[in-house]
């Protein structure tokens, strides 16, 4: 039967669309032609609301409301409290941006955590143990890390293996190498003394210390933020500047967001993750895009590592454990699709914020810290369920 109908419809194709759509009347402007009765009009508020980041926005509001209630008068939302969870959230955000763009391009990087330990040890080893200038150590760490990122990408592209497996191998390789190098050269897994050699270095200040110190001094003078009343730092503001790590996080998030949504390369990132073959057929350099994103992920890991080394004044071979999963969780809370082709950098940044606020907030609230993982798992699950519904609404998946 169906075929008979098909025949009837197929014999007179030219008339058919006039029935499917409303007939275009010549007098009306183009916008009025829109009248497919199967397409509902979508109100503007709904369109503005239904976006990839919606799940993360809801999660952020929920988490802040929750802690405002249970930890509102613990100092969590005082300036020093904000700095406390702000720095933790910024740490997550830095690696989440790299993981987000890579995931949208259709790949994973499980070697991020090991890369953090590896880059840190390279910096400390070159500067403290081998007495190279700190700027050289930092540049060398970036160069080596980005080269390893490129190797990750090259292997994924050339072998056709899932990036999950290739980068899992590097998770072990890099962690093992880090411990090996550190022990064979210094007989220990922690290399300290970086802060001393970094003093006055032309590059190191980009990764350590604080900015806007004068502003905060002024804020303290006018009484907007408190001052220490006793101890060695008496008279100084309780918050004496914005850690550069937060600046890095903001810059990377802004860069990632603009790159993804506003540039031609961003379109290639979406296309590479959405359907690599279809993208190749229209001339998108899929291999190049993916390898570059692996390199960017390694870059972000090294930014994290360098800031951490400068903050602690030391590098340790076990730094960055599980960071790859924390980055991926932030990205997924932020609305990205695990299989690629869909996601948002702003969402990933909000995911990182949720992560930081929950981790530090439970401490402020005086809750047993093991509950952090329970809470986090619950948030992850809720956010992903909500994100799945939102994504289906946007993309028409069924």
């Amino acid at each position: 039967m169906t075929d008979r109908h098909a025949q009837g419809a197929a014999q007179k194709p030219a008339q058919e669309p006039a029935q499917a759509k409303s007939p275009p009347s010549a007098a009306k402007p183009a916008a009025d032609i829109i009248a497919d009765e199967r397409v509902r009009k979508v109100p503007a508020w709904r369109k503005a609301l239904i976006r990839p980041e919606l799940g993360a926005i809801c999660g952020t509001i929920l988490v802040f409301a929750f802690f405002a209630v249970i930890a509102g008068n613990s100092g969590m939302f005082a300036p020093e409290g904000i700095m406390n969870w702000g720095v933790v959230a910024a740490q997550f955000a830095v690696i989440a941006v790299g993981a987000c763009l890579l995931m949208i391009a259709g790949e994973f990087d499980l070697s991020v955590g090991s890369m953090i330990g590896f880059s840190g040890i390279i910096i400390a080893l070159l500067s403290v143990t081998l007495h190279y200038p700190v700027w050289f150590a930092i540049l060398a760490a970036f160069a080596v890390a980005i080269a390893i990122g490129a190797l990750n990408g090259y292997l994924v592209i050339k072998t056709g293996l899932p990036s999950f497996i290739v980068t899992l191998a590097f998770l072990y390789i890099l962690r093992g190498l880090t411990i090996f190098i550190s022990i064979t050269t210094t007989r220990q897994t922690i290399i300290g003394g970086v802060r001393e050699v970094a003093a006055g270095d032309p590059v190191a200040w980009l990764f350590g210390g604080k900015v806007l110190g004068g502003l905060f001094m002024w804020l303290a003078d006018i009484g907007a933020i408190g001052k220490f009343v006793a101890g060695p730092r008496a008279g100084q503001p309780v918050v004496d500047g914005i850690p550069v790590l937060i600046v890095w996080a903001l810059v990377l998030v802004a860069f990632g967001h603009v790159l993804l949504t506003r540039t031609r390369f961003g379109n290639w990132i979406f296309a590479s993750g959405g359907d690599a073959q279809a993208a190749r057929y229209v001339g998108v350099p899929v291999d190049r895009v993916k390898i570059l994103m692996f390199m960017f992920s390694a870059f972000c890991a090294t930014v994290f590592a360098t800031c951490q080394v400068m903050e602690f004044g030391s590098a340790a071979a076990d730094r960055g454990l599980l960071k790859e999963f924390e980055a991926i969780i932030s990205v997924v809370i932020g609305g990205a699709l695990l299989t690629g082709g869909y996601g948002s950098v702003v969402g990933a940044a909000l995911g990182a914020l949720i992560f930081g606020v929950v981790q530090q907030g439970l401490f402020f609230a005086g809750v047993e810290s093991s509950l952090f993982r329970v809470f986090l798992g619950a948030i992850l699950l809720m956010a992903v369920i909500l994100n799945t519904y939102i994504r289906r609404m946007i993309t028409g998946e069924r």
Binding site: A10, K12, P17, K41, V42, K47, N267, A271, V282, G341
Partner: protein, 259 residues
Amino acid sequence: MADPLIELIDIEKHFGPVIALNGVSISVLPGECHCLLGDNGAGKSTFIKTMSGVHKPTRGRILVDGKEIAFASPRDAMQAGIATVYQDLAMIPLMSVTRNFWMGREPVRKTGPLRFFDFQKANAVTMEEMRKMGISLREPDQAVGTLSGGERQTVAIARAVYFGAKVLILDEPTSALGVRQTANVLSTIARVREKGIGVVFITHNVRHALAVGDRFTVLNRGRTLGTALRGEVKPEELQDMMAGGQELAELEGSLGGTV
């Protein structure tokens, strides 16, 4: 009669010991819809992949505008004005119509040293081109996943036409579609043809072919069984040639002519 846009002469393609194509010839004229018919395994896919630069022919000649040419890659073929719309690889459903339409050829706008995706231009052109094809989009940033199968094919066709295709190869554009959507795609083919673009329409559905085709070439077991003009050939004959004859005729008898 106008000169053919593209002509393929005695194309042979061997994959190791397998002879996928064994002397296939076809020419496409401006503004015609040339239907390439054949059952599964007849060599249709291999042939269009040769035409679109994915495969290099083992033997035979390809002439574009009368000049012999060898495609090293699909990009070469695209450059020569030969665009292919693959059945399932046409669009990325997670991405917006605009992002799909311009994929790989995004317009950029310069702001100082930076270059941004020019969404204003991209959206306007996309809406206009889709309107010309008879599809009214709700908005250019709606995801392709929200479109029907026929509309997705139409976006892909509109894209190929906008980017200057002279020959448009459609790989089974109707095989996965419902009745109305099929009709939409067929009417799109009719519109494209009016612009003077040569359409190669691959299908194994004789009725869809007869609805829009000007000429019909039947492939069977890697060979062309000849090309027929519209009106010269009956559906039953085409069906017969595709299937290679006898047994289908018997089958058709027992099924009451519904195949």
